[in-house]
Symmetry: C2
Amino acid sequence: MSETTLLERLRERGWRVTPQRRAVAVALEGDHVHLTADEVHRRAREVRPEVSLATVYNTLNEMVAMGEIAEVRYAPGPSRYDPNVGHTPHHHLLCKVCGALFDVDAHAVADLQLPVADRHGFTVDAVEVTFRGTCPDCLAAA
Amino acid sequence: MSETTLLERLRERGWRVTPQRRAVAVALEGDHVHLTADEVHRRAREVRPEVSLATVYNTLNEMVAMGEIAEVRYAPGPSRYDPNVGHTPHHHLLCKVCGALFDVDAHAVADLQLPVADRHGFTVDAVEVTFRGTCPDCLAAA
DNA sequence: GTATATGCAAAGCATTTGCATTAAA
DNA sequence: TTTAATGCAAATGCTTTGCATATAC
């Protein structure tokens, strides 16, 4: 899907790579589900039990500041982190019951333009579509 | 724009109307900006200084549960509340600098369908488009 | 009159920060 | 060796809750 790994991209930016940061980067990758800081922490601990939650937050915030991942907060509850930003253009599929968030390939969705008359003086540089619905798990549970 | 007021709709649902709740409902109406609980509290206090923040939260949560307003959390920081949900179909214009959120009429944006093949087993019942950019105020400040 | 909303203050999460210690480069 | 990252624990900010009192219906 993507040619380079998150870790490689970060290293290229001159990022200092520690075992903790490696564990965080690896925890985020691969999945098309977006994890909370706490879930990242749990996963990172499976590899490096000494990773602290504070370090997870610090690391995630840096990655966001670099634009390598995005913080998304569509449902109540804690923030989630999207590692596929800027590399694979995509939109989101949100379960309104459990808050789970999946990616959708951008090619599945038409490009959108907002007419200048409706821009309220904004400049627009990204468009993001969220499909709200119910995920298979919650459908089964209902 | 809408034929009935938020307060009228709530009363029709058999809601018990108190001065505090009236103040919260009025604070939310009319605007195309989405307020935080704290901002709603400040506005409600201008009319009824004894309204407590706890009551504002309780009231907003009830309105959300009834589907009369929506909680939106696109940017870091506190939740914001969208009173125009379900009545005036619309999308969002988000300032990535200051987090301000405006409404855009749905007619300005084409309807979108997600192909079944890309639905990952979800049912989809709403589509929401967010245009990310920079608002006039932040442009001026830059 | 009765059920329900209120304010207050305390509790509960999510997230950030200060600081002494440790480790990457 | 230098500069920056770590863990811990305390602090902060947003939101919810418990409970005694007040009030809409």
